[in-house]
Subunit: 573 residues, 2 copies
């Protein structure tokens, strides 16, 4: 093997060659993530484990499922994708997550936490039914281990009567440090690693579910991993096993080892820092909480990315990171609100999907004043299909009692948050990551369901745009078209501004939103005008999953093209 | 206390009087459920426990949260609602579930499983912040205990640093018998009840999360319950406790004790048996599975109600009840499908909400051929707000790759199921409980996205109705109006039948659906015609939670009135 080469098949390599391969993989990962952005520390931690897995097992015949998928880079490099690895997370390039469409070596797509054990059980059960014979492995971090799904899956291991290997990769972190009692329990197990008897006793919790437990081993020790996996592979014929290993997040790159949280996901070296909505959330909520003792913040393992680090350190008794437990976070907020507390649950749009039932039943049917701060709404970019926040307006707008705000810029976001402090019902505020634009405004207080006319045009068309991105595209389209078009900041998707809409009877109405066309803001407007003569033209995303790539390009490609809207304006205004 | 009287305050009663009170409560519950329908066995099991709780604790100052709420009848009788108890589940009467709007004694509304521990933690945390001093109790059955939410809540007990009491009511049943390893573990604990030391050792699993564990006690022994609750109340000042009790589901009514599954929820004595869609599901799927070895059925603790009892006994290796774990059920299906198995997940519409993220990410973004059989869709009636299946068309239609079928009757349901066996993508088939009507049909095979014109009318209006209930109302409205109206069986909500829609340019289009107006079928049609001259009028449910009551009355009250539609037809046809 040449130095820095990544061979197709590593089974014939010597121990020295395998060790050198680990260095090569690490270098490639660091170099590529520096250029492209992506998940760094999590991937560096599992290099030895991944090499050992590929050395001992036979992929793609054997099946390897990555929980979330933040640990799959070395696997991609070892499964015939090294030559395309520099395209990772780029438009048209490799995905940053496992993708069946990309390679036979990726057997199950992931992106959200806690699904790997269920998926492994399903694949193993199918294998048994089909009379086939391969190994099924779920690789899951201790962060995902907090998610209730893992427990649901454990609970059906015995009834399913099949065998899987779960590798618990314990690095003490999810994205934020892992919290909660299961984590403490895992820590206890780790500390006991030299006391086999004690470990066996502690292993009770897993054995109850039908697993044989083996741990704790050093996951960054290649020789140890190869030996253990060989043993486990043998045992796997007759039983299900949890192999508990410890790895160092960011292993081999001292900056990452020292800053595992900051380097979990990193931006590319060339990306420019911008103001983020999350910063406004943190500042405003902290300010509000200084005056109002009822304010409480909840996150699910993403506190810094959501801008709430300072809030959490300032108000430790009025904040909690519940770990990757989005459903529980939602109910906790509802229950706090029943007693007069004002809870704010900050979450990425894509992960809010996990709480859908609880938003309906716990928050909205009880009509409780919980504020959902939905970050990374709209196309989120390089993470791709599993992370786009493009469904929320569609799945939220049908829920009774809910008010949905979509601020036009950071200033309006701040004002909506100020409004929220005394708001009496369930409230959603939805925003993208970056704040790139601002629009003229008045200082009048914001009222739920009240829109704002930004420009009275002389032509036939009125654009209703919700959110910063939609307004930015609207302005661009107006400029391109050279038309004098009425522009409305439709800052609440629910309730609609009926008073304003009823003045629109002479207009051709155009809607723009950073959301799916189906069931989104445009659908509400179309339905509003069904009984009238008003024509409505909706711009939003077509009915398709949205791959990874740069936000602007994806927006244009999937349905929000300023040029296309300009064309419409030229024709209809 | 007079015999059969239920006093407002039971704290001064003697032990004999309390025992007599249990009999009175049991009689009232049996009598009322026989008349009104409702949850019988679950409520009979907790009579002694509830009396003991009201005797020892101080409600409504102390807070009692019922998981799911199938056990709250005795509590309602003891909290000033005895005089209205005969109205339970009737329109305008008491709800069959806990309702804050109904009484201060109900502090948190429930209906879906596994939420009580999260809710108790939220309420307890709020109490601590507010500097108040009351006890918070979650009462949860062993069925709910399988749900991952419970584990998520346990995991944040320590970080929240508050004290709650969890009473684990172990009767070996959810609605179906409880399945899974946690249940086996609980059984083990129960059997060990006379071996204190061993119990203490087993209790490890709960103690890891920060609970002190105490059990197992006979929950039908009033004296024992009073004694234990007194002890626990004392300890609760300084710690969180799990009190593990065993009760007999259906206790005190031999028919229920012998048939706990059949008598979990019962219909009123006067309700007429009808053919149910679930029977068609069971028969058809069994028939298909005889020929096709790839067919696999998954349920989440509702096998008989979903019509799959026979399937499960015929094909034990190709079926699993995963317990109340809807998310896990969904991923299991997706994973099975990656390996060529044809999974069917049967579930009530309201509980499908729990799987929303997994439907998007695991099933649809991977474009896997999983069939979701959605029972109890539309208004489901007496269970009220938390159980209406009126959101599914709205939250499903925005998901790419998904096909949504809404059969017009049982015959068409059977044919859609036959179609599903070789269908290559994600498929939803949505139906209500009862099959009351059938419509003329041809024997042509059903094709996704292909509608059926049931009648070519001579007038201006064309009704697009999806599903049996919508068609039934359409027919009724047509009859009432005396108009000759075109009637279309819009049996797929996604994809829409574009070919047929494009022939509608001369019509006034009316949509009817058993779903929320917002984001539902009508919204899709309104959006389809935005660019055209076609006027669309949508009938469906207005933007409000739908209370409990008889299905027909609720449908009319919330937006599907045949008379109102007839009026429109008279005017517009």
């Amino acid at each position: 093997m040449l130095e820095h080469e990544i061979p197709e098949n590593i089974k014939s390599l010597s121990m020295d060659e395998l060790t050198a391969l680990c260095d090569t993989l690490r270098d490639r990962i660091i170099q590529t993530v520096t250029d492209n952005g992506g998940h760094l520390s999590s991937n560096l931690g599992v290099v030895e484990l991944t090499v050992a897995l590929h050395y001992v097992f036979d992929f793609p015949a054997d099946k390897l499922i990555f929980d979330v998928g933040h640990q799959c880079y070395a696997h991609k490099l070892l499964s015939g994708r090294a030559d395309r690895f520099d395209t990772i997370r780029k438009k048209g390039g490799l995905s940053g997550f496992p993708k069946r469409e990309e390679s036979d070596f990726d057997c199950y797509n992931t992106g959200h936490a806690g699904t790997s054990v269920s998926a492994a059980l399903g694949i193993a059960k199918a294998r048994d039914i089909m009379g086939e014979n391969f190994n099924v492995i779920a690789l899951i971090g201790d962060g995902s281990f907090n998610n209730g799904l893992v427990y649901e899956a454990f609970n059906s291991l015995r009834p399913l009567n099949t065998n899987i290997l779960v590798i618990l990769n314990d690095n003490g972190m999810s994205i934020s440090p892992t919290v909660g009692s299961m984590h403490e329990y895992l820590e206890l197990l780790s500390q006991d690693s030299h006391h086999r008897e004690k470990v066996q006793k502690h292993a009770t919790i897993f054995e109850r579910f039908g697993f044989s437990y083996d741990g704790v081993y050093d996951g960054n020790d290649l020789g140890c991993m190869i030996e253990k996996l060989r043993e486990v592979k043998e045992k796997l014929r007759t039983q299900s096993i949890i192999l508990h290993i410890c790895t160092k997040k960011g292993k081999g790159y001292s900056f990452c080892e020292e800053n595992p949280q900051k380097t979990h996901g990193v931006a590319s070296a060339t990306s420019k820092p911008t103001t983020e909505y999350s910063q406004i959330l943190g500042k405003t909520l902290t300010k509000l909480a200084e005056k109002d003792k009822r304010i409480f913040a909840v996150t699910a393992a993403m506190t810094p990315s959501l801008g709430l680090e300072e809030f959490f350190s300032r108000f430790p008794d009025r904040s909690i990171d519940v770990g990757i437990c989005e459903e529980h976070a939602t109910i906790l907020c509802a229950a706090l609100a029943t007693q007069g507390i004002k809870p704010y649950y900050a979450v990425y749009s894509t992960f809010l999907q996990r709480s859908y039932d609880e938003i309906i039943v716990d928050i909205c049917s009880q009509n409780l004043p919980v504020t959902l701060c939905i970050d990374r709404a709209g196309i989120s970019g390089a993470d791709g299909e599993t992370h786009q926040g493009v469904f929320d307006l569609s799945f939220l707008s049908c829920i009774p009692n809910l008010t949905i705000g979509v601020p036009k810029d950071c200033g309006e976001f701040r004002r909506m948050l100020e409004m929220s402090a005394d708001f009496s019902g369930p409230l959603v505020i939805r925003y993208p990551k970056d704040c790139k634009n601002s629009f003229p405004t008045t200082d009048e207080p914001i009222e739920a369901g009240c829109w704002e006319i930004l420009h009275h045009g002389s032509g036939n068309v009125a654009i209703l745009a919700c959110g910063e991105r939609a307004l930015t595209i609207a302005n661009k389209a107006i400029e391109l078209s050279g038309e004098d078009v009425t522009l409305v900041n439709a800052r609440f998707v629910k309730p609609l501004d009926g008073l304003l809409l009823d003045t629109m009877s002479e207009y051709k109405v155009v809607t723009i939103e950073d959301n799916m066309l189906i069931g989104g803001f445009g659908a509400l407007i179309a339905q509003y005008f069904t009984d009238s003569e008003v024509s409505v033209k909706c711009f939003g995303y077509r009915d398709s999953f949205i791959a990874h790539g740069p936000v602007d390009e994806l927006m244009e490609e999937y349905g929000l093209s300023a040029e296309e809207i300009a064309e419409y304006l030229r024709y209809e205004n």
